[in-house]
Amino acid sequence: MNSADIQKPRVGLFVTCLVDAMRPNIGFACLKLLEEAGCEVEVPQAQTCCGQPAFNSGDDATTRAIAKQIIENFEPYDYVVVPSGSCASMIRTHYRDVFTDQPDWIERQAALSAKTWEVVSFLSDVMQYQPDGIHYEGVVTYHDSCSGLRDLGVHDQPRNMLAGVEGLRMTPLKDNDACCGFGGTFCVKYPDISDAIVSAKTQNIVATGADTLLAGDLGCLMNMAGKLSRDGHKVKTYHTIEVLAGMANDGGICGDGE
């Protein structure tokens, strides 16, 4: 039997607005691993944002308009894969909150929500994929981003997959499951509270002695990396998927560059 005999799952990659604007490398890392895992990956052009800024501000009408756009453009795929626990959870668990009184849409929404996955858990739980021959030299600590952890159960998958990376040593982070203080619009609406929360987080990160920080959400990563950088700490910060794809080699988010 050759590979052409097997129907490859068709994946629509939703890169998220932050990855699109700030760190495309994460999107390309997803593309690489999803293809290696045996998926046929497409990037629908009509994607912008999942709608969280509107949803978390209470603007349900705008959220619904954006959600409909996502549903229309991603429903042809077998899976929607997202390099963010928070955006994946928005589609998977929160879209239904704005469609409760939309009988025409409720089934389409439910179908799309059910096939939406955070990328690391998708590779692990659905594709049973483990990257091979990946090397990363460093002591790594891992922060569990809240939505991925609590809404989607992303916990063991990144740890198990990272355990297969040569040269990578994991060291646990104290309060790994405590929020980093990002919270989307929260961090710009309440910058001083957010700063107090991220300061507690970076203190724990620095205390691990790790040279690399990983997590699965670019918002959280930019928050922690931005704080580490402001305080002069040299901790390289990457999305988990960049390390797993062997594409973590530019010094990381807010890093010194290649």
Binding site: V43, Q47, T48, A54, N56, A65, C146
Partner: protein, 474 residues
Amino acid sequence: MIQTSDRFRDHVARALTDNDLKIALTRTTGLLQSRRRQVIDEYGEYAEARRRATAIKDHTLRHLDHYLEMFEANATANGAIVHWAKTPAEARRIVSDICTAAGAKTATRVKSMLGEEIGIGDALTDAGVERIETDLAEHIIQLAGDPPSHIVMPAMHKTHEQVASLFDDKHTIAPDSHDIPDLVGSARRELRQRFLSADVGISGANFLIAETGAIVTVTNEGNSELTCTPPKVHIVTAGIEKIVPGMAHASVFLRLLSRAAIGAEITQYTTFYNGPKRPGDADGPEAYHIVLVDNHRTEMLGSDLQPMLRCIRCGACMNHCPVYAAVGGHAYGAVYPGPMGSVLTPALSSLEAAKDLPNACTLNGRCKEVCPVNIPLPDMLRNLRARQWDAKLASPLTKVALAGWGFMARRPKLYHLVTGLGVHGLRVWAFGRNRIRRMPFAGGWVKHRDLPRPEKGSFMQQYNASEHGIRSRR
């Protein structure tokens, strides 16, 4: 206390520069989290107990009228006088009338959040009744003139060093030393005589048991027993949502409450009060009143806020809230702080009076995770934001920013064009550096953190120029 939730931002600014507060919060919240985790891990039936507790509360709330009437009938049969209060003002009047009729000069009080909610302390003082707080932490904040900052540990905002100097200053006989046992001893010395000479004892209730008419208090210091038994009059004030059908149901909550609250399997004292002193009883009050308070609870029934009525006031949500840990309880400017308070305060006052509270949350979900009755606090806070949005209470800046962003997010071609230009602009603004430290319109971000310089070209630009992108469009 006077609600000042509308000044949340001012309170936060002050709290974040208060070093003693930071020390006090850091010492307590971490310890409470680790203790809770340990006892929950050791409690094999936790998930089942949590599920049952949630189901019991949901059932009881669906039949609230039935169980309240059952409670009233049984409590009355036990010799209690049951009063109903729709508003805090009614509840205060009932309590002060009872005190006046009893000719009371002094009242001892066990900590009760419902008491705080209805403003009972000030009502007693206004009625000329000297109020003696008997819970150690309440004693501390009464001496300091502070409102409570936590629903289980009302003096959480104070360090023991601050308590030592407060006791030095205010106690009749100063503490023997500043060691914690001596501070506790000093409070005991100060309070003991007051317990025995009080005219009225006032408590709350952790649970009201419909089938027996009993009320339950759960404490660690024994002050409830010393408050409720020696005086001639015992007054209980309780919210109507405290009701559970029977003893078996109460026991489910007793196993959850202290585990969730303080990380202990059970508290030192769990007391069931069944009525006044009977002929032949050695002690007990001659008169026993129960004041059942609504204060907007019946309005929450049947609304999306109903799950909040499951709350057993354990405080686990605030012990695990990063915002609470950063700013403390006083910043919320309301009786109930933290996540549960941010849901309850708008419900007990108004959306306008507590605009910041539902927004000052990262929606990280840890509060819901640790809630022993699985209240969907983040969803409820999000729903309150939607109510604010519909009531046009969102800030003008938020409205303008969202309108602009929403316009583009619904037009992918325009969005990608603008994102591409924005990325280019950011790279120019970075002036060749890897990080951006100053930027107009991004003050909230760059005040405390650097912003990375984005890659050359957005994902969409890079992808569409890549082999994969070109191939997929063929």
